[in-house]
């Protein structure tokens, strides 16, 4: 088959809603886009452990401590599925991780914001996991099979996390004056960064068209963002809190909420590495990896010795 025929067969497969599997022929660009996106997603899970992990030692009750620890541990599990999905495209976990550490690969910018108070933990669960779910539910139907299947498992856990986050805010919202202030402050700080999680406006997004055609993505950044805004406007009412946007209002014509302009300058600054915690996050990851090197080497050396002894016994 000529490359042209292969490409046609590939696109026909996608159009017929049949998943692409690791051994199938795929265009290089499709492979690269998936590697970029899946690894970025994996890194986001792993870096995302840091801002939340920041509060495990200080969680205000034993129940909250257990919930938070379990949640952060789930993120590690998600990272693991995603690194595995990425490996099916022919890139090793080590290479992928090296790309994160060298700055070649990105992770979600949202994790470059600090978790300053306990209310941030609930807010991250509600808004950040909430925004992530919008994207992830769509990805359960993405065209690359291993990615779609990893997303199905991840989505189940993420929606649980989002509910837990919201429930924790609900408790604060019914609590003391100080707790309500803490809750509103966290929402104010996380709202705009959460909206930025959907990426640039469709008119500015470079990867969108091809990804839609290949059904890697099925909804545009702006569509997902709008869906998220519509959902949050309703939910924030249950908390008796507000979203920090004076331009937020129902539009009878579009049947959606209009909202204010995102500070795109801030968005690009954080992407470029100038967010409040970019340096700390990457340093923490590198430190863990470097300090773990002797442990990984020891495990490999021991496994090799064990194998050698087993071989000697068998001989």
């Amino acid at each position: 088959m000529s490359v042209h025929d292969l490409e046609k067969h590939f696109q026909d497969t996608i159009d017929a809603e049949i998943k692409i599997e690791p051994l199938d022929w795929m265009p290089d660009a499709y492979r690269k886009t998936n590697i970029r996106q899946i690894s970025q997603h994996a890194h986001s899970e792993i870096v995302g452990m840091l801002p939340e992990g920041n509060w495990i030692s200080r969680a205000p009750s034993l129940k909250r401590k257990a919930i938070l620890l379990a949640k952060v541990q789930d993120e590690a599990g998600h990272g693991l599925y995603l690194y595995s999905a990425c490996e099916t495209l022919g890139t090793s976990r080590e290479e992928t991780i090296n790309d994160l550490h060298s700055g070649r690969a990105k992770y979600s910018s949202i994790f470059n914001y600090p978790t300053l108070t306990w209310a941030d933990i609930g807010t991250v669960g509600w808004l950040v996991d909430g925004a992530a779910i919008m994207n992830q539910v769509m990805l359960t139907r993405t065209s690359y099979g291993p990615y779609a299947r990893a997303m199905v498992r991840i989505c189940k856990e993420e929606s649980f996390h989002q509910r837990q986050g919201f429930e924790s805010l609900l408790v604060l919202s019914k609590g003391s004056e100080a707790q309500r202030t803490m809750c509103q402050d966290a929402i104010n700080r996380w709202w705009w960064p959460a909206l930025m999680m959907f990426g640039p406006r469709d008119s500015e997004s470079t990867n969108s068209d091809q990804s839609m055609k290949w059904k890697i993505k099925r909804k545009t950044n702006d569509e997902l963002r709008q869906q998220f805004v519509d959902m949050c406007v309703e939910q924030v009412k249950l908390l008796g809190m507000t979203l920090p946007d004076p331009n937020l209002k129902w539009n009878e014509e579009t049947k959606h909420y209009d909202f204010g302009e995102i500070d795109w300058n801030e968005f690009w600054q954080v992407v470029k590495g100038n967010g409040p915690c970019n340096l700390e996050r990457l340093q923490a990851r590198k430190k863990a990896w470097e300090e773990g090197a002797w442990v990984r080497e020891a495990a490999a050396a021991h496994a090799a010795k064990k194998q050698k002894r087993a071989d000697a016994n068998a001989a």
Binding site: P60, S61, L62, A76, G77, V295, A301
Partner: protein, 244 residues
């Protein structure tokens, strides 16, 4: 014979403080699978602590909650042994401590499953299943590091040299143990036998004639505990009487 409140608190404090220490690894482990494993052990320990604190809260009565006991007692009231409050150190220190402590817990909980205090027996039985896994996981690491590279071997040896002085306290009887019908001295021989098997595979020897530090069971702790509690308890202390 029923277990005393102080004894239940001792069991709870041991689990909570080690759980708190191990949780420091979450997000910082040497490899993803092990990050998950140590966080999981931490989660089990916090779960154990909750079961014991809930029981202790009932014994105490007057509407006491598990969180009152974990968050509103001071350093001098904590009854955990010194071993569990030591900083997490490197991976060798963490896994070796887990191995030494879990091996002790395994023997203890095996015994407690037949204790007259039915509630204590039930918690011990449930906990034992987790502890069996902790022993397996941590012993594998001790062996791997002892029989790994030169560096891992030197690290496990130096962890052993610094940790050993804290192991004797597990077997020094305290009045709340005696009053609860627990004879910890009986566990020592079995514990030594047990760890010897894994140590042999790791090709390391238990130190001898080490001075054994104690005090934790009496509430005389190392300076580390104050910082652990300051961090752990800060929200409950700063905003008294709030629901979270």
């Amino acid at each position: 014979m029923k277990a005393t409140l102080d004894y239940i608190l001792h069991l709870a404090d041991n689990a909570l403080i080690l759980g708190q220490r191990n949780a420091e690894w979450c997000g910082h482990g040497p490899v993803l699978e092990q990050d998950i494993a140590i966080s999981n052990i931490s989660l089990d320990l916090i779960g154990q602590a909750r079961s014991f604190y809930q029981y202790a809260a009932e014994l105490k009565g007057n509407g006491t909650t598990e969180d009152d006991l974990a968050y509103l007692r001071d350093e001098r009231q904590f009854r955990n042994i010194l071993l569990v409050e030591q900083p997490k150190g490197d991976w060798a220190f963490t896994t070796l401590r887990q191995f030494l402590f879990s091996s002790y817990q395994q023997l203890l909980f095996q015994k407690l499953t037949t204790h007259d205090d039915e509630r204590l027996a039930a918690i011990s039985e449930k906990t034992l299943k987790e502890v069996n896994y902790h022993v397996r996981w941590s012993s594998e690491w001790v062996i791997r590091l002892g029989d790994g590279t030169e560096e891992s071997r030197s690290r496990i040896l130096s962890a052993l040299a610094s940790i050993w002085t804290y192991t004797g306290e597990m077997f020094m009887p305290e009045s709340f143990e005696t009053a609860s019908g627990i004879v910890v001295t009986d566990l020592e021989t079995a514990w030594k036998e047990k760890i010897k098997t894994s140590f042999a595979e790791a090709n390391i020897d238990a130190p001898e004639n080490t001075f054994m530090r104690s005090g934790g069971k009496k509430g005389i702790h190392s300076e580390h505990l104050g910082f652990i509690l300051a961090e752990m308890q800060y929200l409950q202390r700063s905003y008294p009487g709030c629901e979270w």
